[in-house]
């Protein structure tokens, strides 16, 4: 079984189109100013519907990270242990990624890279930045 390929919808299509162009797009609310990820039709902070897409510089720090030994499917188990991290991006939003190029700890600085997954491109992070 292959690793899951994200299935974009109307909320997220601009984000995934950005990833295909190696551009990390996130939403910012014009009413309250909060950065938002994942993308939604409204701002979850103030319910405002005036959201703009911005492009992240692609740098952040690890909020938490675990090394997974038992993946959910054969496709992941074949990788051996892999790291899953929650990354706080410098623009003020959080996303999940696997860590490439070394082992991260809480606080490790990382930068976004992109990997092909099926017909999509998914963001990941590598150590550094």
């Amino acid at each position: 079984m292959e690793k899951p390929v994200p299935r974009p919808n109307a909320d997220s299509a601009p984000f995934w189109e950005g990833c295909a162009a190696h551009e990390f797009r996130f939403q910012r609310c014009n009413s309250c100013g909060k950065a938002q990820f994942y993308p939604r039709a409204i701002c979850a902070n103030c319910r405002g519907d005036d959201l703009d897409w911005e492009v992240s510089v692609g740098k952040g720090a690890v909020h938490s990270v675990t090394t997974v030994s038992r993946g959910p499917s054969v496709a992941f188990k074949e990788d051996g242990p892999y790291q899953v991290a929650l990354v706080d991006m410098d623009e003020g939003f959080r996303f999940m990624a696997n860590v490439r190029g070394g082992e991260a700890e809480i606080g490790t600085r990382v930068r976004v890279i992109y990997e092909k997954r099926g017909d999509q491109t998914i963001p990941q992070v590598e150590i550094g930045g």
């Binding site: 899951p4 994200p6 675990t66 959910p72 499917s73 992941f76 899953v84 959080r94 996303f95």
Partner: protein, 382 residues
């Protein structure tokens, strides 16, 4: 407003129950709880069910009612993960208190061990967000591991302290002939068991078991006619902050703070009044973080308390006296219901070999998702 009470409780065997089905477990549990109360199927006017992995259906309460030939005047099925059992008890109590029902049968059960043979972990991982979590190989243990790493980093919790929780649960299970895993374990055994997702070892993780459990929630003024001692539902509460761990507002503060405060507040009680707690322990970190977030311990103190034996039967706050999800068993929604059934047995003074002396007040707590949805119930001996 009428008062609600638990008048019947029953749990099936747990473990590898080859030959059981989701509906056969529902049937044994449901009829067992009715027999415990001294009621017949025809006495039940409300039926609440949860969800199933092995017999997934949009309308599980209707499926079960049809299976046993019941035609209730009220039925619904709730699908909220591990919090479901507590939520169903809260909902049943609300139906009784509002006068819609006199006897509500609350039934849970699943054969996710023998019926899925190793596929339960993958099925569970599919509750992760399809676009923003599943592509990264996030599993439920991995999500709780992210919580554990952060919690350990902020509050100085150690792996040995987490292991002490697993050891305590196993000690309790060893006192319980029905428990799925009863072989004693040590802190070293936990620490030396293989990592599932750092810092969580295999023995920091709950079991996957077949089994079922049910309770009857009745109007308290009907309970005098029934067989079993009445256990009053004194207060309940919920708290919801997120679904996906990627969007959780905090990895160290959760909805259980609110659910416990509301449940205790409605009962007119405080944490120190409670004699025994049965709290959702999908992982060792789950129990530790919830004990602190709910106010039973100060931040950073539950781990040391576990290591000092304070969570044991006879300790300061006996916790998961049946052995919990970690050692008694975890059967989907029934996993949380085992905590409810155990609280009832403790308050009846019927927990043979593991009875907490003088237990009069219990708090039961369930958690669904990744510490996403919480429900707390305060129960008291009538």
């Amino acid at each position: 407003m009428k008062k609600a009470a638990i008048t019947g409780a029953y749990s099936t065997k747990v473990g590898d129950l080859e030959g059981a089905t989701c509906m056969s477990l529902h049937t044994e549990a449901g009829l067992g709880a009715l027999a415990d109360a001294g009621l017949e199927v025809g006495d039940v006017d409300g039926l609440l069910c949860a969800y199933s992995f092995t017999e997934p259906h949009l309308m599980l309460a209707s499926v079960f009612a049809e299976y046993i030939g019941m035609q209730p005047s009220h039925a619904s099925a709730v699908s909220m993960g591990g919090v479901t059992a507590c939520m169903l008890v809260m909902q049943a109590a609300a139906l009784v208190e509002a006068g819609y029902c006199r006897h509500v049968l609350v039934v849970t059960g699943d054969n996710r061990l023998s019926g899925m043979r190793g596929n339960a972990v993958q099925a569970l991982s599919e509750v992760g967000n399809q676009q923003y979590e599943q592509p990264y190989g996030m599993t439920i243990p991995a999500a709780y591991a992210l919580v554990a790493q952060r919690y350990m980093s902020e509050f100085g919790v150690t792996s040995e302290q987490l292991a002490a929780i697993a050891v305590t649960m196993r000690e309790h299970a060893a006192l319980n002939p029905k428990a799925h895993m009863r072989t004693p374990i040590t802190v070293d055994d936990v620490m030396n068991s293989r990592f599932i997702a750092t810092p969580l070892h295999l023995l920091d993780c709950c079991l996957i078991s077949d089994g079922g459990a049910a309770v009857v929630v009745s109007a308290a003024d009907t309970a005098g006619d029934l067989k079993a001692p009445r256990i009053d539902v004194l207060g309940s509460g919920q708290g919801h902050t997120h679904e996906y761990i990627v969007a959780a507002p905090s990895l160290t503060d959760y909805g259980c703070k609110r659910s416990a405060a509301d449940a205790l507040g409605r009962a007119g009680l405080k944490p120190s009044d409670i004699d025994v707690v049965e709290i959702y322990d999908s992982f060792t970190i789950t129990l530790l973080a919830e004990l602190e977030s709910m106010g039973f311990f100060e931040r950073g103190e539950a781990g040391a308390a576990a290591a000092a034996g304070e969570l044991k039967i006879g300790g300061k706050l006996p916790c998961n006296t049946h052995g919990g999800l970690l050692s008694y068993g975890h059967s989907g929604a029934a996993g949380g219901m085992y905590h409810v059934v155990e609280a009832v047995e403790q308050l009846r003074g019927a927990a043979k070999g593991r009875q907490v002396d003088g237990a009069e007040l219990a708090l039961v707590h369930g958690d669904g998702g990744i510490l996403s949805a919480h429900c707390s119930i305060v129960l008291g001996r009538a």
